[in-house]
């Protein structure tokens, strides 16, 4: 099934005259920057998931909130779908435009409005980059904890929309645990504040509901995040194993010892070699798996924890154990991991990144099944794993210029996600459903559950104008997806006709 918006299964979109819309925007908001020519629209045709591209009808680049409100009101009145976009680094096509829609780019809202060290909060505009918040808070000894690998580029508005994670989630939580308040505009352009500068607010927890809602319920115009004092120290241990099973078990053993590491990452041999070739992090390239375990906090506790973890890792059969001897080596150990995606990208013209989560105990079985699928589909898979919280990132290597390889990669990816669901996990831990995993939503949720999701959407956007086609599949799409599965068996291969 085609991943791009398909009105037949995703629902009809209103037909809007581009020129009329352009005229309305220009008349009412003469200072608003609107892109409408083909060559101007091109850079916006995809987000971080570049395999899927659609040219938007128009791109608007507002500079103040009144303009955003104005755009939403006009679009609501003229029934034009609106897709909000931050930095465009998302990996699930959450900001993939629509031919019949406006792309609302929020990247220019990049001001840090206020850092309040005594309250330990930062109030920022949605286009502020994740890392910029920590940089602005650094003079006060504070930082913003969630650190997705794209943190130098991704914006906080997008982080909230996707409930972004990172390598420190197990200890410090996801975006939802680190945001105090968001200001949004509804599809009608009405302003709402969700959450507050206190630790809770009256009524339903709409802040939790909006976090991770992928731009389907409102447009984020301001975010207040919680800041934490920087840990006094952080140490990283690198352990090598001769089997991924042993490495997986070691993760459980660390937790069983009562230790919650700041970060706990695992890479398999293909990922290790790719990262080592690229970054020269000093990884042992003959290991079947490595674990990176970061322990952070107060000096005395960290030293204690390091001793405990060393003992656990050796007991678990680590063939080699190293502790970063200084900050430079610690950064290098992490650089290998944080650059694992581009590193794997050097092995192959294209790669496709999965984001499933599983209960950790299922890891050996799931990795085994992924290896089998990899053989079956004739595509290599490198595994990078947020081991502490069960979030896997299998990277499927393929060449889009070879006929049928993209489709094969997609199918293999779909199988991996369905496997995650089968063992009690989820199709996405931190990248979001977006457009990419829209079909796999049908595997994770039944039609009654999807109906409830549609009801939630209807409460905020009854006309379905905000980011249509993302996050929640129509029942129609799931019916066809289910049919494909039943009839397919070995499906779908490129020679077969698609729905």
């Amino acid at each position: 099934m085609n991943i791009l918006y398909d009105e037949r299964v995703d629902g009809a979109l209103p037909n809007v005259d581009k020129n009329l819309l352009l005229q309305a925007l220009r008349t009412q908001w003469p200072d608003l920057e609107v892109l409408h020519q083909k060559e101007e629209l091109k850079p916006y045709e995809c987000d971080g998931l570049s395999a899927y591209r659609t040219t938007p009808m128009l791109v608007v680049l507002p500079r103040d909130i009144a303009q955003v409100q104005g755009v939403l009101r006009i679009c609501h009145e003229m029934r034009v779908p609106v897709v909000a976009r931050g930095a465009g680094t998302g990996l699930s096509g959450g900001a993939l435009p629509l031919e019949k829609g406006v792309l609302l780019v929020m990247a220019r809202f990049n001001n840090i409005l206020h850092i309040d060290p005594a309250a330990r909060t930062a109030r920022v505009q949605p286009g502020v980059r994740n890392l910029a918040i920590s940089q602005a808070a650094a003079p006060f000894g504070l930082y913003y904890a969630p650190d997705p690998s794209s943190q130098i580029a991704c914006s906080i508005g997008g982080n909230v929309a996707e409930n972004a994670g990172g390598v420190h989630c197990l200890k410090y939580g996801l975006t939802v645990h680190n945001v105090l308040k968001v200001d949004i505009l509804t599809v009608e352009g009405e302003h709402l504040s969700l959450g507050s500068h206190a630790l809770d607010s009256p009524g339903f927890d709409l802040l939790a509901l909006f976090t991770g809602s992928e731009g389907m319920l409102g447009v984020i115009t301001e975010v207040t995040v919680k800041l934490l004092p920087k840990p006094q120290t952080a140490k990283v241990l690198l352990a090598a194993f001769d089997s991924v099973e042993k490495a997986g078990r070691a993760v459980g053993d660390i937790i069983a010892a009562g230790i919650i590491p700041g970060g706990l990452e695992m890479m398999d041999n293909l990922a290790i070699r790719a990262a080592e070739d690229f970054i020269h992090a000093g990884y042992p390239v003959d290991a079947e798996a490595i674990l990176l375990c970061e322990l952070d906090g107060v000096e005395a506790d960290v030293a204690d924890d390091c001793e405990r973890v060393r003992a656990v890792l050796l007991q678990a059969g680590a063939t080699e154990l190293r502790q970063a001897k200084d900050e430079a080596e610690r950064v290098r150990f992490w650089a290998g991991r944080k650059n694992a995606f581009p590193a794997v990208g050097r092995l192959s013209p294209d790669y496709y990144c999965m984001d499933g989560t599983i209960p950790r105990r299922e890891l050996p079985g799931v990795l085994h099944a992924i290896a089998e699928l990899s053989n079956e589909y004739g595509l290599r898979v490198a595994n990078v794993f947020h081991a502490g919280d069960g979030n896997m990132h299998p990277l499927i290597l393929f060449d889009a210029n070879q006929p049928g390889e993209l489709e094969r990669a997609e199918t293999l990816g779909g199988k991996i996600l369905e496997l995650c669901v089968k063992v009690g996990g989820s199709i996405t831990g931190e990248h979001g459903v977006g457009r990419e995993k829209i079909n796999q939503m049908c595997a994770q949720f039944n039609s009654d559950e999807l109906t409830v999701f549609h009801a939630v959407k209807a409460a905020f956007d009854p006309g379905g104008l905000l980011n249509p086609g993302k996050n929640i599949p129509t029942l129609h799409r799931c019916a066809e997806f289910g049919a494909l599965h039943v009839h397919g068996g070995q499906l779908p291969f490129p020679e077969l006709e698609r729905f």
């Binding site: 000894g141 630790l199 339903f204 976090t211 459980g252 069983a256 989560t357 209960p359 199709i427 979001g432």
Partner: protein, 354 residues
Amino acid sequence: MGSPDDFDDSALLLKQVNQALDNATPLRIQGSDSKAFLGRTLAGEILDTRSHRGIVSYDPTELVITARCGTLLSELAEVLDAAQQMLPCEPPSFGERATVGGMIACGLSGPRRPWSGSVRDFVLGTRVITGQGKLLRFGGEVMKNVAGYDLSRLMAGSFGCLGVITEVSLKVLPKPRQTLSISLDMDSEHALRQLAEWGQQPLPISAACHDGERLHLRLEGGEGSVAAAHERLGGERLDGMYWDDLNEHRLSFFDEDQPLWRLSVPNNTPRLSLPGRQLIDWGGAQRWLKSDAEATFIRKVVEEVGGHVTCFSHGLTDTPFQPLPRALMRYHRSLKQQLDPQGIFNPGRLYAEL
């Protein structure tokens, strides 16, 4: 299975909800009724959730526990304790028979909340009987899951107004290796200033309360950090039971006859000028007030500092929860209408309009 503490009664609950839907009978969802004092008075037929009880799964190395709604909070705590783990948000019981379902529905958190997170922060998944009369699952048993809307965290603190929570999966954590409670002699203004300063430093504080006279702190972490913090901060040793007594409102402060108000404010809010007595918890972010002052007056003062007020004395006001701005209420109603179109789940418990 078969033990009196473990019984899957979801089929009966589902049947009762479907009957209520058929007859358009409003339901009053009830566990042990330990928190019935919170919120507006409810009419409606009682839906007793206590028969659906028991811990469904718990694997300490996965840091996840799944329990049915009627499970006693005390049982949950015991099971976790045996594995040296805990639910870090310390939900208060307000009664020995408090249930897991009520804990989620009320969403109240204890002294560790500012440092650990709230009840909703530990919710990973729920099973819910919906307004369409279906028993559905949202979220799951994994730490990270961003598929679909986050309905399970939305259930926390919804006071049963969006559906019947039948089961919940919670993230749990190992207990800290070391705990030490201390008490320092300082007035409340000084304490608030100190807390704001300490908050910017990596100190192992996990509870901070000022009772009007002294600042009470709990230190938690490894042996080294707790010892170092104790040496730096000084103070007298305090019995750790203090935090339970605070959490369960057993301190003498809560004994007085005057109405009890909960003020939720930004943590660095200076001492609030209000008639009556105040107790500062959550390192400044939660203030308890014993006062005869008018609700509207208390709300006005607290709203001005960006906070909100809940009345913890039942029946005193028709709006125990802070009234919502009009636009926000409109979307609350819209959500309630979508998820509970017949309005059978605890109608009016939170607000008359919901």
